[in-house]
Amino acid sequence: MRKRSENIRDKLLPAGAFALILLIWWALSASGIIPGFMLPSPWDMISALFRDFPNLMTHAWVSIQEAVYGLLIGVLLAFGLACAMDRFGMLEKAVLPLLVVTQTIPTIAIAPLLVLWMGFGMAPKITLVVITTFFPVAVGLLDGFKSVDPDAVALLRSMNATRWQIFRHVKIPASLPFFFSGLRVSASYAVVGAVISEWLGGFEGLGVYMTRVRKAYAFDKMFAVILLIVIVSLLLMKLVNVIKTAAMPWLKYRKETDGTQRKTV
């Protein structure tokens, strides 16, 4: 009963904070303290979203494709590199500092270069998403591989397990929580990365649409795009959580039994 009321409280608190922000926002725009053309009211934003819904969906579909393709390629590359770095310590020492340096370069600075090199199609957008999503997954996986209990590895070695068997039965499962934490961060970066790269040039996508409405001073539409980007990012993160729950069913049981085991042998 107490746990249930704690759950309700945990859900009500962020909802309350969100409602408060909306209220303040509405009060600021309705009172005219901030002019409507600079800060449209929440209602204006939502009505713009529904008014322009078909058009927004066309652009959103392009951005979602760029984000998902980029994320998938980023995850695959991160997995490959993390495995290689785990296997060859020298490679980790050589490459990891470079990876850290790449993360200090602002995305907005790389995007024009990518457009220059790859044109206005999907390629530079996907590449930028790969660059932004690659790092959290690679570092998460590497940390996961290192988190493995050395005694568990020794136990499998005593069974005469091959390197691949140790990897498959111990290292990969142990790294899954780290992998999904990284993937969740990357999923949120993916949509933003796609939109930023679209700002710098292109024909379709939420970033392109955003640039157009900004130039037309249609700020209600611009806020509608921002809302849509938030929704798409949250959905992508939710999808990651669903995959995580399906991929690690044992976590559910651990939660259920934690602190409740009182059985005697």
Binding site: M159, N160, V170, P173, W250, Y253, T257, V265
Partner: protein, 255 residues
């Protein structure tokens, strides 16, 4: 019948000798303890017996065949049960068979009948986090048994359990050992546990660790339950304590 034998095993790390001339043997169906104080090289010996590391000199034989430095012949179990949290209990215990190349379904079929013997009936599809401490230890023992070729190596597997659970597991372990017919080398620093369980005790003393004493514990396995309450138990304990104290004095005087 002699099952396991080590001959003159020595091992050094970075110029420091850890073990010197360790020779011991294990008969079929026997439980032999290697009892030593901290720093006497117990873990190193465990790694050598399980084939994880090679000794500098000496050999390990299993049923007459040399297995020095070859993992996969002797299974071991530590104080930590090391059950893999992501695998169901049946897949955890069948893991050594899968590692050997057996198909998953076949390994499960092979492991299945042992669940009753190890008092684990009904836990096959559970995850380790759903088991109590004692059940986890038994599941780990079953995994060790399935991976063994008649010899199990235990490294203080019961030391993390409470007294009642530990005593129950001691009795259960001796019973299952007799029923399943395997042999055990127990590596421990716990004098009571060594006397309670062992047929023979090798005392690993000094630094580097050496075996100078072997003590035979004369008590039938079926009367071990209350052995620790008898004067004979106290006599063994006194004898071992005196030897260990003397070894420590000699070691301190030399060091």
């Amino acid at each position: 019948m002699e099952l396991l034998r080590t001959e003159n095993i020595s091992k050094s790390y970075s110029g420091r000798m850890i073990l010197r001339d360790i020779s011991m043997h294990l008969e079929k169906g026997e439980l032999v303890s290697l009892l030593g104080l901290s720093g006497s090289g117990k873990t190193t010996l465990l790694n050598i017996l399980s084939g994880l590391i090679r000794p500098d000199t000496g050999s390990v034989y299993l049923s007459g065949a040399e297995i020095t430095g070859q993992p996969g012949h002797i299974s071991y179990m530590l104080q930590k049960d090391l059950l893999l949290e992501h695998k169901r209990v049946i897949d955890n215990v069948a893991l050594p068979l899968i590692i050997r190349g057996m198909k998953k379904e076949e390994a499960r079929k092979r492991a299945e009948p042992c669940f009753r013997d190890f008092d684990l009936e009904g836990t096959q599809t559970l995850y380790p986090s759903q088991l109590s401490g004692g059940m986890r230890q038994r599941a780990a023992l079953l995994r060790t048994y399935l991976g063994s070729q008649g010899v199990i190596l235990l490294d203080e597997p019961f030391s993390a359990l409470d007294m009642i659970t530990r005593e129950q597991l001691h009795a259960w372990y001796l019973d299952i050992m007799s029923r399943m017919g395997f042999s055990t080398v127990l590596i421990t620093h716990d004098v009571d546990e060594a006397i309670q369980l062992s047929d023979r005790i090798y005392l690993l003393t000094g630094s580097p660790g050496e075996i100078h004493h072997e003590i035979r514990v004369d008590c039938p396995r079926n009367t071990r339950q209350d052995f620790n309450l008898l004067p004979e138990f106290a006599a063994y304990k006194r004898q071992i304590r005196d030897i260990l104290q003397e070894a420590m004095r000699t070691s301190n005087a030399a060091g």
